[in-house]
Symmetry: C2
Subunit: 93 residues, 2 copies
Amino acid sequence: MALFDLLGRHWAMGVLWTLSEIGPCTFRKLQEDCESISPAALNTRLKELQAAGFVHRVEDGYAPTELGLRLYGQLRPLGDFSKEWARHLNAQD
Amino acid sequence: MALFDLLGRHWAMGVLWTLSEIGPCTFRKLQEDCESISPAALNTRLKELQAAGFVHRVEDGYAPTELGLRLYGQLRPLGDFSKEWARHLNAQD
DNA sequence: CTAAGTTGCTACATAATTTGTAGCACCTCA
DNA sequence: TGAGGTGCTACAAATTATGTAGCAACTTAG
């Protein structure tokens, strides 16, 4: 699936997630919140996400588009799943 | 989110997706269905997915675990979203 | 028993991607 | 005019992936 090519890049989902959680924000703030993403990679991800129509530039920096927010909506359940997964991993030890 | 570290690797979601769609299958069939994944990368992904508890070995090769199938369930809506997205991209041209 | 096929997987050189750090060019506001 | 913020580029080093070859273990057929 072509969508996986895009999302399966380092930090692609993280950037969209962060942007959707904290709302419109600057390049630099995004860089802080995605701990240890290099500016080069962030820039590349932002360009890809913009080309894909999930993110666009706004006055205050970057923000998710309406489509981007819908994608975030699909991703959000993974947050809860992630907790269930953590419990599973602990139970394994 | 830690889950994104795992899924945001090249072919990680694709492998789980394929495995859930076509059911238990061999290493080599997985390699064919994920067109152009190198055996080294596939092996790495499989080890990671096994360590995460999403995939395990079975008689016929590899199969998603129950937890893996639940994760696939969370991912599945992305399939429909992907079509919506394709429509959106075409409308842009 | 042997030879052919299939399996999972490793080896390794090349290529692509990411990091980490530095810093530039542009703006705004005092 | 200079102090701060902005988005972003440069570039070497590290990490990760590709592509091709092939090995070792196992099954099956003759």
